[in-house]
Symmetry: C2
Subunit: 99 residues, 2 copies
């Protein structure tokens, strides 16, 4: 998931889906200076990372943003590293004093 978020184009796609849900591939392409195939690849990566869900309807494929995993991971990481905020400063002080 981190890898999926690491690319600016993909973040732009997520932004676009956040602004306007249920877009087709072609819709998502318009405005971006990129080939349809490139966008398609990005969407595949986002889909694999479970950040985008799709529904096929006829010859179209509607794309939906799935904000849940972002929220989950974000919360986990915040909590994981929040604890260290004070600890780190204490450690720093201790180490410097032990010189």
């Amino acid at each position: 998931m981190f890898r999926a978020l690491a690319d600016e184009s993909r973040r732009a796609l997520l932004d676009s889906l956040a602004a306007q849900s249920a877009q087709t591939l072609s819709e998502l392409c318009s405005g971006l200076s990129m080939t349809r195939q490139a966008v398609s690849k990005h969407l595949a990566i986002l889909e694999e990372a479970n950040l985008v869900a799709t529904v096929k309807r006829g010859r179209e494929k509607l794309h939906y943003l799935n904000p849940v995993p972002i929220a989950e991971i974000a919360n986990r990481w915040i909590r994981k590293f929040e604890r260290t905020r004070v600890d780190a400063l204490v450690d720093l002080k201790k180490r410097l004093e032990s010189e």
Copy 2:
């Protein structure tokens, strides 16, 4: 910053620093099956992304985790996409019904 978090080795380094603050490069290397130089590169990337802060002491370089940017970005992204949770479902329903 997303790019910095996109690599498993770097996330492992952050984990290590979360568990034990103020580690030297050599300390961070032990346990990982990687060259010291590789770890050094990863740390440079983390440092550039402001996820790790360093203090030089003698010939050693102590590494500290900086959890603040993670928390900031995470919060921004949660808020950004939280709004769409309900909207997305509504849109989906609407689009499917309009068939």
